[in-house]
Symmetry: C2
Subunit: 354 residues, 2 copies
């Protein structure tokens, strides 16, 4: 690449590599990107089918005003606490720019690897803090003080959550810096820190509709934080893209949030499937971390994760094979519906017996 | 704002302010953001109505693969030349990051004011080059050499285009830097530089479906440039958001591009409306620049633009009132359908006769 064309920043990037999103129909069971096995809410279907397509000639509302109002009611926080973006990855990116650019930020050595990509994009100083051998979070005192902090709660790919007391202490220990909690998987376990944003002025909670709401394809994420921090995110957004969330996604997101009973019933089903999946995996030689997410983090007693990944893929099942220093022996497997989970177990048995 | 929470970068921002996107129904004629007065293509309606909503539980294709293939065929350029983003503003933002971050970039003193916001967000050194008194571009020699360059062609808010010979000379004069041509309005006049990307390795052309395709609400933009430059944009995108374009927008964009005859017929109507609008404005004391866009840049011989803007708004018509040093006496008015244009002229006559 002719570097003279490019900015110095570009040479430092380390882009995130998402799980495969196959266009072919050879993949019959997709358990690699923690998508929801159940369809979006009936009201989402209705909203899209009845959408006034003629209105698409207009720009969407730049601040997703009606969606913000809906989220404000749903979470019982002021509207000025809500910032909406094109998926939670965009919200995270803007948060790194607003809060960590050129500053120090730390995150777990095992966590969502996109945090490192953001840190490089926005030229942060960054460092890891080490999770314990069992992937639980360290004592708070061991985490660097007076620095920005970001982590997922529950964490990915470990599926383990920290409690609210831990988050509160972390925020207090770093009161002049932002603590950013990515709650992508919170609806499947763990306790949300959303209400803590009313008292903790340095806490930012980030949410997505991609997982529990089955809306990954629509790209809607948001954050909840004090009006001051939310205003900072808006400044970045308005220096980047005036209209990040398209009109149909705004409308469908409102429908889904107003239909949370449906989402809750899907979550219940996923938690049942998860329990059975972990038991079934255990019966064939896997040890799985206690999951509070819609995926499991699991390791076979004998067979290498890469081998299992490849063999499953040959059989039309894709899971996520991680290659970090501490994660390389694990598979991250999305909890599918009962049929998907059974199919997975049957194929794993075939592979093990080969 | 407690600056200790925020990055230094944030304090330097100057966010773009988009035209109003009113939620109320009091605005009856919206001529402020250069939206298309005609509906999206029939195939777009069909695509959305028949969309497989269940598939929304999956992430979209991260690289908008099928849309890239469609654009590749449409423009007769290799697929590796195409980069797709969440509206052309996002593509522009990534281009500023990839090509101009920490480097020098120049743009016209009168142009899309978002370029300055991007330059500040990505900590570029930036400067203006002055357009002539009549808002045409200066002699190429007068533009700084050995620097990045960005401009809209046709330019906004002036509505004036430069020819391809000018772009080619600019690219050659700055062969070690990127020349970024924003063709948001190219379908309404001017000659596209798309085919020049095959020979000019430092040329990036940016396009949107928001204007000529009537798809502003769906947020789809793209760029065309050499595979090398396109790869650089992908690196930035994959450090920012894996899935920038939602599934429905990808499908609807494909439908619209494959239905370009419909778009072309709308463009013809808009060009007719534009001709009549300019004549009607002239008859009531406005001078209007010769437009090659779907908007006009116009100034009344007696009445101040702010007064006209306010009076029109009271009457349910919104236009764009600009406040740059050289644009403050002008209104930028979107060319609407025949009815909208007539309504505008009638209300302007009422205001003038007041």
């Amino acid at each position: 690449m002719s570097l003279n064309y490019l900015s110095n920043r570009l040479t430092e990037l380390e882009p995130y590599v998402p799980g495969e999103q196959p266009l072919s129909s050879e993949i019959v069971v997709k358990l690699n990107t923690n998508e929801n096995p159940y369809p979006p809410a009936p009201d989402v279907f209705e909203t899209i089918k009845k959408f006034n397509v003629n209105s698409i000639r207009f720009y969407p509302h730049p601040e997703s005003e009606l969606l913000k109002q809906t989220l404000s009611r749903f979470h019982d926080v002021p509207e000025e606490f809500i910032f909406v973006g094109n998926g939670s990855d965009e919200v995270l990116a803007h948060a790194f720019c607003a809060f960590f650019s050129g500053k120090k930020v730390v995150f777990p050595d095992v966590t969502y690897s996109f945090y490192q990509s953001f840190a490089k994009l926005f030229q942060c100083q960054w460092d890891y803090f080490e999770l314990r051998d069992d992937f639980t979070f360290p004592n708070i005192e061991e985490i660097e003080h007076n620095t920005g902090i970001v982590f997922a709660n529950p964490n990915a790919p470990t599926s383990i959550a920290v409690d609210l007391d831990y988050i509160e202490k972390l925020a207090n220990q770093n009161s002049d810096n932002i603590v950013l909690v990515d709650e992508a998987y919170i609806d499947f376990g763990g306790k949300s820190a959303v209400h803590l944003t009313k008292s903790l002025k340095n806490l930012v909670v980030i949410r997505t509709l991609s997982k529990s709401h089955s809306l990954a394809g629509l790209r809607v994420g948001y954050s909840i934080a004090s009006a001051e921090l939310t205003g900072a995110l808006s400044m970045v957004k308005n220096s980047f893209n005036s209209y990040p969330v398209n009109s149909i996604s705004q409308a469908a997101a409102i429908a889904s949030i107003n239909n949370f009973d449906y989402t809750r019933s899907n979550i219940s089903k996923i938690l049942l499937n998860r329990k059975k999946l972990i038991e079934d995996l255990e019966a064939i030689g896997f040890s799985t971390l206690a999951s509070q997410t819609n995926f499991v983090f699991t390791k076979h007693e004998k067979l290498a994760s890469t081998y299992l990944y490849e063999e499953l893929k040959k059989r039309g099942i894709i899971v996520r094979n991680l290659n970090g220093v501490r994660t390389t022996h694990f598979l991250r497997i999305t909890v599918g519906n009962a049929q998907d989970c059974n199919r997975l177990i049957i194929e794993l048995i075939n592979i093990i017996n080969k």
